[in-house]
Amino acid sequence: MRRTDHIEVVVIVLALLLSAGAAQADVVAVVSANSTVTTLSKNQVADIFLGKTTRFPDGSVVVPIDQAEGTLERNEFYIRFTGKSAAQIKAHWSKIIFTGRGQPPKALANGIQIRKLLAQNPHAIGYIERNMVDGSVKVLLQQ
């Protein structure tokens, strides 16, 4: 291999890395428009999705709803709210499952289904892309 080949390979790899980084979703945490909850901090959202609490800060029951494994929204949500990658989340839940302490949140295929479920369930919390927000859901303002 000539030296220039190496450089080409490096450029291609960098381009791939950059394009992977560019494919980012602007994900927001949402609850039903009927929910009484309006603000949650990043840590509070993280605790709900990591199974550290089963209630909203006001004491009402919370049911977290995930998007399917491998979706852009899911990966972006966990990075943003918990700082953890998909593999770290998998390890986190494996620890809880195999100590008999619980099962991960139920997952739905996409944002449309999340929206539909939230419209019906004031206890649910999910996350969708910002541009999918409509009147049926409420974006949680971070404290």
């Binding site: 605790d47 609490t53 990658s85 494996s94 620890k95 100590t99 008999g100």
Partner: protein, 426 residues
Amino acid sequence: MRYKLIAAALIAVTYHACGVCAADPDQPVFSFNGFGTLGAVHSSEADADLVANFFQPNGAGFTRAWSASVDSKLGLQMDVHLNDRISATLQVAAQHRYDNHYMPQVEWANVKYQFTPDLSVRLGRTVTSFFSVSDSGLVSYTQPWVRPPLELYAQLPIKHKDGIDALYRFKFGEVTSSLDASYGQFDSKLPAGGETRETHFFDISETVEYGAASMRFGYGSLRIAVSDPGLTSLFGGFTQFGNVLAAIPGLQANAAQAFAIADRYPIENIPYSLITVGATYDPGTWLLMGEWVRADGSGSIPNSTAWYVTGGYRIGAFTPYLTLSRAVAATPSEPGISTAGLPPQLAVATAGLNAGLAAALNAFTRSQQTTSAGIRWDFMRNMALKLQFERLNTLAGSTGFLANVQPGFRPGEHLNVFSATIDFVF
């Protein structure tokens, strides 16, 4: 007998279930999950075996240079979620066990009752959660290392316990506090025809979590019994020899020493207690964790102090990590039976018994330290590859946590250990 009780409890709860079936329609009644590790370990020490716990009869080094038995395992779990209050867990795992086989054993079999969202009680077999990863110790996928640092984790020689535990978890604002208390017992066969029984095991631990940081404090106490053919004949030898000496005028003091030893060192319900402190900081891109324990025993089981620290840094799917771990046990000062004033033949026999005692006590005095460096690669969803290099030193004349130690082994020398594993969950 105990299995039958557990099975009966599970069945009873299952039948009871449908009376209260209404519950949460979203939560499936049955969940099945599994985990496993496929591993290979190489040790540079040909005169001792590296093992992952006291229950493995052999490992890497003496028995074979490369061993797949140290880390390989497979577990299956079924959870039954009857309603918001009652659930049950059954976990069966196959791993290298005392008889050199891999017959699956029941690791978990318990019924959980959730009194309130904050308070739950489990009855049956649970895995003790004394140290921060002891309850998920078999699920290597959840851990940064190939195996939890033995220096600390082997200080509590229990795989699971049959009994009761209660968890009370509550939040103060964004701080989560979990208070866990349990009571129970454990028994297991040991390699080479031995058996161990840990009873009156009580432990209490408190975990405080805030965001990415968590701290743990724990106290545990138990009674340890170990019956082993070698130890039985050794202490039987002291008693018999004491009888011989007692019959000889002028050797009463030596006889008393022999009887005292035969009384003091057998491991029959020796009280053992531990205090531990641990901390983890895991903000995402890097990881820092450490634990410390002080264990107090008596007789053959010495006082020990052990700790480890682990640091890791995540670069995409790769997590290189470094661990330092160390265990130091107090060397027992036991001179044995005095040979002063004994006739030559008796002096030779005495020296033999004393050497046997010293070797037995030394085997329980486990001091070693390990520096390990490794890398975890999350190459697939649900799967991780780990490569780990360890430099292990036994300390101060001890044979550390090694097994099958041969006469040629020189305490204090370092050994190099290389491990490669694939961990998975499903």
